[in-house]
Amino acid sequence: MKNQVLEIRNLRKSYGSLLALDDFSLQVNKGEVFGILGPNGSGKTTTLGILLDIIKPDSGQYAWFGARPFSNQRARIGALLEQPLFYPYLSAVKNLEIIADIKNVAYGEIDELLEKVGLTGRKHSKFKTYSLGMKQRLAIAASLIGKPEVLILDEPTNGLDPRSIAEIRELIIDIASRGITVLLASHLLDEVQKICSHVAILDRGKLLHTGRVDEVLNSSPMLELQADDMRALHLALQHSGVVDEIVSEGPIWLVRMNKETGPAEVNKMLTQQGIYLTHLAQRHKSLEKHFLELVAENHA
């Protein structure tokens, strides 16, 4: 398939007696923003490390752009793993030049990238004089050298202040909007929910779930309903035959409808019975809830 950027088949990796990755398979297509979600130690970094050839798997294969991995391929991939790693005694510009040389691309875009991440004023300062936020921003600039088709990010907002986190998320969304495929590992549900189109949920090296983020979110939405006469509302819902579950939550009824019934039908049905809603809202099951359920199942 032409659209397929990455295919992982049955990867397995153990560190001594610890099984870090257990029969892990995944497919990523062009243009997807793919989140690998899992608690710390679930095998996210190991997976990304294998894809970048810095960790050797015990068994299993992966293919980038439909081909067996080789080092020149990685010139098409931008990567940011864990903490930023640079030569501390070299300036930002020299560090980026080394990366450009490794990727075999011209230096032309370096200034532009430094401008984009807001480091122009300090571009000739040595890396070791940078603050953590600056280091992280330089790492992002580094990952964009050579106009990569795929961007791999491992916990890109780890340890940053709220403003930097917002900036970096915006940057990722901007990058993704230009058709670059993004593979993002995070233990932050909120981050994956905000940025990603697809998600793979990983726990203790096992793939628990994979699919579109909105599918996960939209699986059986709940409705928040409120009317002047809550008892009449409850009665009407009970006898409607389209409701699976009604839960009281403070002043509202939280209602799970069967699959065919949307908010519009509910509203129409209640109006016909003379019940006028004062509040109607759809509540998505959060990724967090889904995630915690899956992890709990895995541990059971």
């Binding site: 810095i54 010139a75 991939i77 030569y87 070299l90 075999n104």
Partner: protein
């Protein structure tokens, strides 16, 4: 390959430690070259007082002997070029930049090759220092200068290069193996000054001459002097060909081992 040189050049050219070490080495080695004769003649002068025969002073710097003499004495300081290689190989681990380099698209083999090239260029520069020093000293000190004399025995320059290069490769392997600079330096020094000398004593000559550092040292034998000839002591006046093969074997072996290490390891 040019790409690898370009990449590595940036890593060293802007590093102060690198220049300090290199300059220290060059100053030291040039001083050794230029003062070796004075130093040796002290012994000859001492010998004169004890020996009833007239002992001639050394013609240490005259062509073609200068190449052999300088190469022999320069060889004692190969630990310093080895040190530079160890430091810059282990630096890549302590900065974790080896990881970053590979991630960015450098092959593991390419990374190794870049360090082999570094060791090679370092040894070539050291050999160039020998060439320049030898030329100056030879031109000044050769009584009857003939053009052909200058080029006699220049094989010692190549042997000097091989000695430094194969030792640098041993240092590189230790760096890749141990990954920590302090530990690697100590182990290199222990091997060079203690472990192998002990082995050489324990093993019969036939076996010990195949050891790496021993074969590197055997490449260039002790230079003959007039004094020694008087006592009928005769050392090899040519580069020892068997040792060229042994050293070359070790060089290939060190690179091969480093490749196996790098190929299978996680960073």
């Amino acid at each position: 390959m040019l790409r690898l040189i370009k990449i590595d050049f940036k890593k060293y050219a802007y590093n102060r430690t690198f220049w300090i070490l290199l300059l220290t080495y060059f100053i030291l080695i040039v001083s050794v070259f230029f003062f070796a004769e004075k130093f040796l003649n002290l012994f000859v002068a001492d010998a004169k007082t004890n020996v009833p025969l007239p002992v001639p002073d050394f013609s240490f710097y005259s062509f073609p002997y200068v190449w052999h003499n300088l190469a022999f004495f320069g060889g004692f300081f190969k630990i310093l070029t080895g040190l530079i290689v160890v430091i810059f190989v282990t630096n890549e681990y302590s900065y974790k930049t080896i990881r970053q380099n590979v991630m960015n698209g450098m092959g593991r083999g390419e990374f190794l090759l870049s360090k082999v090239i570094f060791a090679g260029l370092l040894s070539i520069s050291a050999a160039l220092v020998l060439v320049i020093s030898g030329l100056i000293l030879g031109l000044v000190n050769t009584p009857e200068l003939r053009f052909s004399l200058i080029f006699t025995n220049i094989g010692f320059i190549a042997a000097y290069f091989l000695e430094l290069f194969s030792f640098s490769l041993l240092a590189m392997l230790i760096g890749f193996l141990l990954r920590q600079s302090g530990l690697s330096i100590v182990m290199l020094a222990i091997y060079f000054y203690i472990a192998e000398p002990i082995l050489v004593r324990l093993l019969p000559d036939k076996v010990s001459s195949f050891l790496p550092v021993e074969s590197m040292a055997n490449l260039i034998d002790f230079p003959n002097s007039e004094l020694m000839k008087m006592f009928n002591v005769n050392f090899n006046e040519f580069v020892s060909l068997p040792d060229v093969f042994i050293c070359s074997f070790w060089s290939v072996f060190f690179v091969g081992m480093a490749y196996l290490l790098l190929r299978n390891r996680d960073f």
